[in-house]
């Protein structure tokens, strides 16, 4: 089993899938010679050349839009948006074209494609290199959305996304790109199921739910709680659309207390949806209100880079509230 960082896993999974299926093409700004500004496409250009690894003009609309037209014509494009903050000039292509194509054409056309984008804060990037735009995607019917937090999950979900028949927005937690190394599978067909989350830890006192970059702080908070004798169940949603309602409801119903963590702005966050669903489906099982720990409803600040994030202390404070309720 290879030990790899998150970003290495992305590059190697792309490499393997491109070897396996010559319909796979990669396109984006600097994905070619440069190997991507984070090196997530390193080595691909040398291996597959300019027809399959395409350095594009500086236009996210061109990148995402062209990927749609390629997918429609039989290719399997993996588009890169350099930072998820820069998806917005190409947002119309995602919302108006990719997401609706199968539906609006009555199934005549569909766009099996992946749009990769590094997301999240904590890298001293200010609001235009730190945002978490997943709400915009999960609220857009027709898009699947993934935001893994570990190399192993990145490997399995990226493969599933690339082999699927739907457009997938694949968010990558850039502050975890090189933060950890872990063993990934050698099985060239190791995939992870659509719409399934994963339990990172089991406990009976409180359920912590998060995904993406914030999983790091969530897991740290759980470890800190364990030191105080408090055992937390930790759910990594991983797939954000569809999200794993079954797993969430089952664990929260069992424990009765839940804290939800996301670093996107608070209002109409994905965890607002999860909390609303919990309240709607299993109200009577709750022993305390579902408390959300999120990014603030401000643009992402540069000087207070870390303060903006739902750090360990804010999670612990919420857990305390929920336990003392």
């Amino acid at each position: 089993m290879a030990v790899q960082t998150f970003v290495q896993t992305v590059a190697r999974t792309l490499m393997q899938e491109m070897r396996r299926d010559d319909r796979v093409v990669v396109l984006g700004q600097d994905v070619g010679k440069r190997g991507g500004v984070f090196l997530a496409t390193e080595g691909l250009f040398d291996a597959f050349g300019p027809d399959r690894v395409i350095d594009t003009p500086l236009s996210e609309a061109a990148i995402i839009g062209a990927a749609i037209g390629m997918a429609v014509h039989g290719l399997r494009p993996v588009a890169e948006v350099q930072f998820s903050d820069y998806v917005f000039p190409g947002f119309d292509q995602l919302v108006s074209q990719a997401a609706k194509l199968r539906y609006r054409s009555g199934g005549s056309f569909h766009a099996p494609m992946v749009v990769r984008m590094p997301a999240g804060g904590g890298v001293k990037g200010g609001h235009h290199h730190s945002q978490n735009p997943e709400t915009h995607f999960v609220h857009t019917p027709g898009l699947q959305v993934v935001y893994p937090s570990t190399p192993r999950d990145a490997q399995g979900t990226l493969r599933t996304a690339m082999r699927g028949e739907d457009p997938v927005v694949f968010l990558e937690p850039k502050r975890l790109y090189r933060a950890v190394k872990e063993e990934v599978s050698d099985d060239p067909d190791a995939t992870l199921p659509v719409g399934k989350g994963v339990l990172r830890r089991e406990g009976d006192d409180v359920v912590l739910i998060s995904y993406g970059a914030s999983m790091a702080e969530t897991v740290q908070a759980a470890a800190a709680l364990a030191q105080q004798g408090i055992e937390a169940d930790v759910i990594d949603l991983r797939w954000l659309l569809p999200w794993d309602e079954e797993l969430v409801l089952e664990r929260v119903a069992r424990v009765g207390r839940v804290v939800l963590v996301s670093e996107a702005p608070r209002t109409a966050n994905l965890v607002s949806e999860v909390a609303a669903t919990i309240a709607e489906e299993i109200l009577d099982m709750l022993e305390a209100p579902p408390v959300r720990v999120t990014g603030f409803d401000t643009p992402y600040p540069y000087a207070q880079d870390r303060a903006y994030l739902p750090g360990v202390n804010r999670i612990l404070y919420a857990v305390q509230q929920v336990l003392e309720y």
Binding site: V25, D51, R52, I54, T56, P57, S59, A61, A62, I64, G65, A66, A67, I68, G69, M70, A71, V72, H73, G74, L75, P77, P89, D92, Q93, S96, Q97, K100, L101, R102, Y103, R104, S105, G106, G107, S108, F109, H110, P141, G142, Q144, G164, E165, D166, V194, G195, P242, E245, E246
Partner: protein, 374 residues
């Protein structure tokens, strides 16, 4: 006779035309189309016009909710239709291209099925009228957001380039579309990559009420090709044969790997922007009348008549033949019946996910509780 050398100059100050208003051949090369082809083009022009008229009638009868009249654009649309290899090349049309999809032979029952959103619509009634699409004919289903089909069209052309089989894509749009960022993004990418695509603008000088001079400072559309390193051609869009010949040339160039082109076809829309519009608010009736005198159907008819290929009898026969086809197609489209309510949950993804299944189920329960069917 076709040669490999370009016959038309890019960036000409005047529009290219090959037949005069009075129907004379005025091109510096020989006509190389046989009589049947010429009559076929004429038939397609008339078909487009009659579909248009039928749609306006259906809308007034309340049978369809929306029409985007194409009258005045037929020369451009039929010219394009005859210049591509149907079923091989790809088309990315826009909502005013009813005449184009009819001319490439999209079955009329489907066409009206789409307009009436019955089960005869291959798109299952998902979109407004005037949003055709066909997998079989490589016609990318029209979407409403202006110019949003341009980057996808370029993607298809890049895929064709990679495949290396000489297939090409033709992407059409109006003059207004050229202002959108997505239009620029797509055309620029095509230029940078030398993708085998032709961008064909049906320039009717208005985007709803906004006239060309409020749309852009460039005066016309062909000049915009300079920005992308590709040739731009200005064509008289009321001359179907000029549209055909220019398109044939640029399609052939793209097929041979010579890269993309932009073709501006000067047309006019006789009617309002759509059935929801009142064009008297923004343009003078005289302007409309003047353009109607330049009608592409009348012009080709004069050309055919000069060659004794057409006459009143043929005209009458054609019109009643088409009227019959339209009657049949409309009847068949209507007979197919309405879309089933539950299909509203399908085709969001390849498979119905659990949350949509729950939403569908809950909706059924609510309908049942209210005593509604289902």
């Amino acid at each position: 006779m076709i040669t490999d050398s370009p016959r038309f100059e890019p960036f000409s100050p005047d529009p290219h035309a090959v037949i005069s208003e009075s129907g004379e051949w005025i091109a510096p090369f020989d006509l190389d189309l046989d009589d049947d082809t010429l009559r076929g083009m004429y038939r397609n022009l008339v078909l487009a016009r009659l579909i248009d008229e039928r749609l306006v009638r259906l809308q007034r009868l309340g049978k369809t909710s929306f029409v985007a009249p194409g009258a005045g654009h037929e020369g451009a649309q039929v010219g394009i239709a005859h210049a591509i290899e149907i079923g091989r090349d790809w088309l990315y049309p826009y909502y005013r291209d009813t005449g184009l999809v009819a001319a490439i032979g999209w079955p009329l029952e489907k066409l009206f099925g789409q307009m009436l959103a019955t089960r005869a619509d291959p798109a299952r009634g998902r979109q407004m009228p005037a949003h055709p699409g066909s997998r079989a004919l490589n016609v990318f289903t029209v979407a409403s957001p202006i110019a949003s089909h341009v980057p996808p069209a370029v993607g298809t052309a890049l895929s064709q380039k990679i495949a290396g089989k000489g297939d090409v894509t033709v992407c059409t749009f109006g003059d207004g579309a050229t202002s959108e960022g997505d239009w620029h993004a797509g055309v620029n990418f095509a230029g940078a990559q030398g993708a085998p695509i032709v961008f064909a603008c049906e320039n009717n000088r208005y985007a709803i009420s906004v006239d060309l001079n409020h749309q852009t400072g460039s005066g016309g559309i062909a000049a915009k090709a300079h920005a992308y390193g590709m040739p731009g051609y200005l064509v008289d869009g009321m001359d179907v044969l000029a549209c055909y010949y220019v398109m044939r040339e640029v399609v052939a160039n793209a097929r041979e790997g010579l890269g993309p082109a932009l073709v501006e076809m000067a047309v006019y829309r006789y009617g309002p922007h759509s059935s929801a519009d009142d064009d008297s608010r923004y343009r003078p009736a005289e302007e409309v009348a003047a353009w109607r005198l330049r009608d592409p159907i009348a012009r080709l008819r004069r050309f055919l008549e000069r060659r004794s290929l057409w006459g009143d009898e043929a005209e009458e026969g054609l019109r009643s033949e088409i009227a019959g086809e339209l009657d049949e197609a409309v009847a068949a489209a209507e007979a197919a019946g309405p879309q089933d309510v539950d299909t509203l949950f399908e085709d969001v993804f390849a498979e119905l996910p659990a949350h949509l299944e729950r939403q569908r189920e809950r909706y059924r329960l609510a309908r049942r509780a209210a005593g509604e069917d289902g």
